[in-house]
Symmetry: C2
């Protein structure tokens, strides 16, 4: 009989957000009259912008005619999109990345989950605590040793460098779940640390579009030396409301290397290319044309307006929650607010109380790691009116 991958047995039976959805669904069944507002899962609510909609219709029409139909695209993504990314997301910030260092995907979750396949099981992997659970779960499925770097109000949610030897570190800034950021100076120190200690940085920049301050880097490649030590994950999910459309990209500079047991150094770029060619058939052509459209002049404006809308939500949320005496972090350069529970109430208790008393869904901080205990994550991705309504309800239960 086939044997199971025993590493899977070490995981909790539910992925965090699937577990929350289940609990909310159970509440709905027993309270069908409840008008529930979700500020829990980081899902967007605003429609696709007109430039994207137009691109989708146009691409659909192309697929309807024999002379413009497209079948399999390149596993790495279409040249038109890789080139648009290179010019509009990188070169415009002074970052020199070749189109062949960009891999288009069906969303950052897939790539942040799958990238560890390129690495030996003996690598020691560091993650922040709290953390986006995909990094830890994906590595746990392979049986890798994981080191956690606590991020708390005491260290302003900036992890200290590990005291022990590590090989790989996941960093996500603007951070999910805390909504906090790394300054240019601090990110430079991380790059220096990585170069000095031969550590591979897996940098998740899924929320870079929400950065407002000039001092905060939008890409790790703004830092000198990062080309030699960092892989960066991007997503259109939050940038352009693509959570249902599925598209993103990963940057793997040719200079980033790993070692073999016989002492050679190998570039990760061709290895990822081999992985993708074998197990992935490219993102939908429609999704790639949609992504291309956000780099047009009108697309940039429209996407920018949606981001401003969400950031205005964040501003109002932060103000309202602080006005009732809650500790609130993040929300200034990120769509997430990291909120201390009143009187350090356990986060699952607060989650359930908020659900039953205010009919508002949050994400319990401890679901992101032990240092998340006593916090919940709220997202600014709601509709304005519903977000305001949720804030009123939260005020009421105080």
């Amino acid at each position: 009989m086939a044997s199971v991958n025993e590493n899977l047995l070490s995981l909790s039976s539910n992925y965090l957000f699937a577990g929350i959805a289940k609990e909310v669904q159970a509440y709905r069944v027993t309270h069908p009259e409840a008008d529930i507002i979700s500020l829990g899962i980081g899902d967007v609510t605003q429609p696709l912008c007109p430039a994207v909609v137009e691109a989708l219709h146009r691409a659909t029409d192309e697929m309807a005619r024999g002379d413009s139909f497209r079948g399999y695209g390149p596993e790495q993504g279409y040249e038109f999109l890789r080139e648009a990314i290179r010019q509009n997301a990188l070169l415009n910030r002074g970052i020199h990345i070749g189109a062949d260092e960009i891999f288009v995907n069906d969303g950052a979750k897939s790539d942040t989950g799958n990238f560890q396949e390129l690495l030996g099981t003996d690598n020691v992997v560091a993650v922040t605590d709290p953390v986006y659970p995909v990094y830890t779960d994906a590595n746990a499925m392979t049986g890798r040793q994981i080191v956690t770097l606590p991020c708390t109000p005491e260290n302003a949610f900036v992890p200290a460098f590990p005291q022990q030897h590590i090989d790989v570190v996941y960093l996500c800034y603007p951070n999910n779940p805390t909504g906090t950021t790394l300054s240019r100076a601090r990110l430079s120190q991380w790059v220096d640390y990585a170069l000095k200690n031969d550590v591979l940085i897996l940098y998740d920049a899924a929320y870079e579009a929400y950065i407002q301050d000039d001092d905060i880097p939008r890409s790790i490649y703004e830092i000198e030396g990062a080309r030699a030590c960092a892989v960066e994950f991007h997503s259109y999910s939050k940038t352009a409301g693509f959570t249902g459309i599925r598209c993103g990209f990963t940057i793997i500079p040719r200079d980033v290397k790993v070692k073999t047991s016989d002492g050679r150094r190998m570039a990760l770029n061709p290895l990822w290319n081999r992985r993708q060619c074998t197990k992935f058939n490219g993102a939908s052509y429609l999704s790639q044309r949609a992504a291309e459209a956000i780099y047009t002049t009108v697309g940039k404006e429209q996407v920018g307006a949606t981001i401003r809308y969400y950031m205005e939500n964040a501003r109002r949320m932060k103000q309202a929650l602080q006005s009732i005496g809650l500790q609130v972090y993040g929300g200034d350069n990120a769509p997430y607010l990291w909120v201390g529970t009143p009187e350090e109430e356990p986060s699952w208790d607060f989650f359930r109380r908020l659900l039953s008393e205010a009919h508002v869904v949050c994400t319990p901080g401890v679901g992101f790691g032990p240092s998340g205990e006593g916090f919940v994550r709220l997202t600014a991705f709601g509709q304005r009116e519903r977000t305001e309504e949720a804030l009123q309800r939260i005020k009421h239960i105080y």
Copy 2:
């Protein structure tokens, strides 16, 4: 320094089709005047059918309005599609599969590549030879032992049961690359073998829509007992021309189990659910609505017409190639023809000769495994006129 997954080093540097594309591209550069016709990679050429196009436009319009916008969908796929599959691809054939046993994906390549993550590295995996390289490459990346089951004209391309112990077997019928099929009687024997020997069958049914004969099962679940030993992969790529749209589904009956080291039996269904929730965020909403449309009355008719078009290509190809004395297998219930090279010419030599003398691209059989030496694969997915032209050219070089 991070270490590489050493198993990757055992792979050839190129994925088969990426390697062929490279060689064809090199020829194009040196012969820009050549009018190349590809009967190589199994990619479709006919446009999306009107029902699908309409569904895509409609879904795009939904995404353009705040009141009908959809963000993240269920990782397992939308209920509307799982239910359409259950009723129109399974129940209509007397197959009882629950919607929660169906997982929608972004194409069968992803799932056939990723499914092995659920299994221990100690499993012995059998594949046919020749074989779709994803099965072997994905397992080689994990360092698993692979046993090959030769499929040749001598055994009518039906693999014999392995003489040694195996835990898992991949079967793909209608077969890629040989275009041959398994009769109901023979597939029943495989199910019996699997039940008796506790072997997990990973059944790739990507080409089932091309089956013409009533005696050939379109799903392994038409065979009694398969619910307890088989997982089945489906694709819309070939069924409905979705190679650029990216959607498919995998069936994992709750009865299919694997063992743990402490002797328990675990269902694969919840394990795959956990894997997908962690590393996948669902297929595009647009792609899922497109897939739903092929199950409407008009969608079925339109998709059927395209399949008849390709099968008419196959018929003409088989006739033409046989008329010049070539041995041709497959093509009756599958879109692939498996063609013996003249005088047992090595398949890469024949590939290069066909490219340079006829400007026709085929796939060298040996790329699918050693038993593919002396064969090439031709696909019936071309446009009619181009396919006829390719046949004329092939006749000319004889």
